[in-house]
Symmetry: C2
C-alpha cells in the first residue's frame, strides 16, 4: 500500500493571477482516456484545436498551435525562434514579464534594449518610435496584459510603426487572450503567445502561439539552428502542419481540455466574452473604491482581467490573503517584483469572471478589512 | 454555438510505443479542479510527487522533479543544463533517441562524439572504455530503453567507468522507468529522465528527472547561463526546492495525475511491477514466435516494455496497423528511422501490460496475418 492518502484538493475560488477556475465540461474532457499522438483521431483533433485557436486569436495564420508547455514555454518559443546571436531586440519593460522577456532574449544572444516605464504604466507610440529611430530592432516585444501590474498596453498602430522600421512585433497575450481583444490579424501582430490557464480557463500546461507571414519568413531565413530543440517551430510546425512528422508526444489530454475550453469561448462568442470580463471588472472596481481602496492603474489603462489594488497602510497583506484562502477558500495574488507587498492582484478571468465571484470577494474583503 | 461536436474519442487499447493505457484512478485525479501553483496545498502535493518520483527512480537525490513538458523536454533539460559550448559529449547511438540526443547536444554547442551500433544492439563496457580512453568526455549519454529498437542497454558498471574518466553519466529512461529497474543510486547514474506516458501510465505532459550530487556540482560550477530559460534547473529547482520561488506555472492537473499514477506504482511495489512487465513480455514473445514471427532484438537484450517484431516478407505493415486500429481499436507502432517499414513496435507498459491485452493482440494478429 502507498503511505500517501487519496488525492484531496480543496475547492478554491480562483481569483488570483492564474490559474483561473475551470468549467466542469473542460475537466470532463481532460479525463477522457488518451489515444495515441499519431492516431488519425488525434490528428483530426489537432486540426480542430488549431482552428479554434485561430478563432480566439482572430487570425488566419497557418502556424497557430498550442506549445507543449505552460505560458513561459510560449514566451520562450516566441523568442528563441526569431533571435539569432547579435540580433537587436527592443523590449517594453513595465512589469515582471517584460523583465522575463529581457532575460530570455539575452540567453539566446540578443542585444537587448529596454524601453522602461514605471510598473502600472504603458508605452505610447511616440516612445516606441523614438527608440526605433535611435536604433532599429529586429524584434519589438510588448506585454499586452501585464499580469504583474494590471496594465493593458494599447496596440493600435504599433505593428505599422514596427514594420516601418523593419522589425517584427511580438506580443505577450498571456492574460488577455479570450478576455480582451487581441486581434492578431487586424493589428498585424507578427508573433503572439498566451497560456491556457488565464482567460481561456483551461488548466495550465499548454501555450497558444501564433506566427504571422513576416515572422515565418524570418524563421525560414535563419542562418543558424534554433538552440532550443523542443521549441523549434520548424520541427513543431511539421508535426502540427502538413507532414505530421513525429517531433514529441503532445500532451494528449491537455489538448482534449483545450479543445473544450475553446468550444466554450466560441459558444459564448468573443464580443460577449469581452463584455462579460469588462462588466465584472467594473463592478469589482466600483466595489473596491467604495471600500476606499485605491486601484494601482489609471482607469484608461486598466486591464479588465486582472486588477491591482493598493494595500492600505497598516494592513498585513499576506495575512489578508491567508485569511481569504483559509476561511473563504478564495485565492487572490500578492504583488510580484517591484510591487511585492504593495498590491493585491485580483483576477477575473474566463470562468472565474462572474457576478457571483465579484460579490463573494467584495463581501469577504469587507469582512476582513472591516470596511 | 460552436460548430464543433462534443468530444468523442475512441476507446483504444494502447499497445504502441506510448502513450500507454491509463488507470481510471489517474484520469479521476486529473479531473480535479485546479488550485493555484503557489497554494500551500499544491506545495504539499509537489513534495509528495517528488518523494514518489524518488521511490520509482530508487534515489535520494533532492533534485528529483517532473519537468513541465513531455519526455523530450526531459531530454533537453538533462542536456542543456550540463553542456557549455565546446564541452565534449559522448553519445551511444543505436537508435532514434540516441540520434536525438546528438542533435540536441550539438545545438547547445557540444562537441558531440558518436559511439555507434546497429539499431537493436547495445554497447559493452569495453567499447565505452575504448572511446573514453581515446578522449574523455564531460558527459556520456546512453539510452537505457531504446523505444525505436526495443533494446535494453545494460548499465551495471557504466557509471564507475565514466567517473574514472572524469565524466557524468546521463541515462534516458523514457521507456524503462517503472517497467524495468532503473536504480539511479545503486548504479550511480548522475542524470536520468523519463516520460509519464510510458511505464508510469499517466497521460503525456510531464518528464520525471533526477540529478545526482556530481551533476549538481557541475551545474553549480557552470561558467555560462543555461541558454534555455524554461528548463534552467537552477531556477526550476528553486521552485520545486527550498525557496519555492515562482518560476513558471506548473501543469497543476498533470501533477495530480502523476501523483496518482505513482501511488499505483507504490501500491503494486517495484519488484512486482517489474515481474509483471517481464511475465507479459515473455508471453507476447512466445506467442509471436509461435506465429513464426521473428523478434528483432536478441533475447538477452530484449526490453520487456517494448518489443520489435520483424514484418514478414510480403505483408503490408501499415495495412496491418490500420486494421488493428480500425477493426480492433488496438494501437501498435510502426518502425521509426532506420527500422521504418521493417518492424512493428509493441508496447506492454504500465497499465497496458496485462494478460488480457497480450491475449487480445495475439488473437487479432493471428486473424489478420492468417497464421
Amino acid at each position: 500500500m502507498s503511505p500517501y492518502a487519496d488525492l484531496n484538493v480543496p475547492t478554491r475560488t480562483l481569483l488570483g493571477p492564474g490559474p483561473s477556475g475551470v468549467h466542469p465540461r473542460v475537466l470532463h474532457a481532460l479525463a477522457y482516456p488518451p489515444i495515441g499522438h499519431l492516431d488519425p483521431q488525434f490528428i483530426a483533433l489537432m486540426n480542430e484545436v488549431q482552428d479554434l485557436l485561430r478563432y480566439v486569436f482572430e487570425t488566419e495564420n497557418p502556424l497557430t498551435i498550442p506549445v507543449s508547455g505552460t505560458g513561459s514555454a510560449g514566451m520562450e518559443a516566441a523568442l528563441c525562434n526569431f533571435i539569432e546571436p547579435g540580433d537587436s531586440v527592443l523590449v517594453g519593460v513595465n512589469g515582471y514579464f517584460g523583465e522575463r522577456i529581457c532575460e530570455m532574449a539575452g540567453r539566446y544572444g540578443a542585444e537587448v534594449r529596454r524601453l522602461e516605464r514605471p510598473w502600472g504604466e504603458v508605452f505610447t507610440l511616440d516612445e516606441i518610435e523614438d527608440a526605433l529611430r535611435a536604433k532599429p530592432a529586429k524584434l519589438v516585444a510588448l506585454v499586452h496584459a501585464e499580469t504583474s501590474t494590471g496594465a493593458l498596453q494599447p496596440l493600435d498602430g504599433v505593428a505599422d510603426l514596427v514594420h516601418r522600421y523593419g522589425g517584427l512585433l511580438l506580443v505577450d497575450c498571456v492574460t488577455s487572450l479570450g478576455g480582451v481583444p487581441v486581434q492578431v490579424d487586424a493589428r498585424k501582430i507578427d508573433i503572439a503567445y498566451s497560456g491556457t490557464q488565464k482567460c481561456l480557463s483551461c488548466p495550465p500546461g499548454l501555450a497558444p502561439l501564433t506566427v504571422g507571414p513576416r515572422a515565418l519568413e524570418a524563421l525560414r531565413s535563419r542562418r543558424s539552428k534554433v538552440a532550443n530543440w523542443y521549441l523549434d517551430l520548424t520541427l513543431v510546425g511539421n508535426y502540427w502542419g502538413g507532414s505530421r512528422t513525429y517531433h514529441h508526444t503532445a500532451p494528449i489530454n491537455m489538448n482534449y481540455a483545450l479543445r473544450e475550453a475553446l468550444r466554450l469561448v466560441q459558444e459564448e462568442g468573443l464580443e460577449a466574452r469581452y463584455a462579460r470580463h469588462r462588466r465584472h471588472a467594473e463592478l469589482l472596481w466600483a466595489g473596491l473604491e467604495e471600500m476606499d481602496l485605491a486601484l494601482h492603474v489609471a482607469p484608461e489603462h486598466r486591464l479588465p482581467t486582472l486588477t491591482t489594488v493598493r494595500v492600505p497602510a497598516g494592513v498585513d497583506e499576506a495575512a489578508v490573503r491567508k485569511a481569504l484562502l483559509d476561511r473563504y477558500n478564495i485565492e487572490i495574488g500578492g504583488g510580484l517584483g517591484a510591487l511585492k507587498g504593495q498590491v493585491w492582484r485580483i483576477g477575473l478571468m474566463g470562468h472565474s469572471s462572474s457576478l457571483q465571484n465579484v460579490t463573494l470577494l467584495l463581501a469577504a474583503l469587507r469582512e476582513l478589512l472591516g470596511r
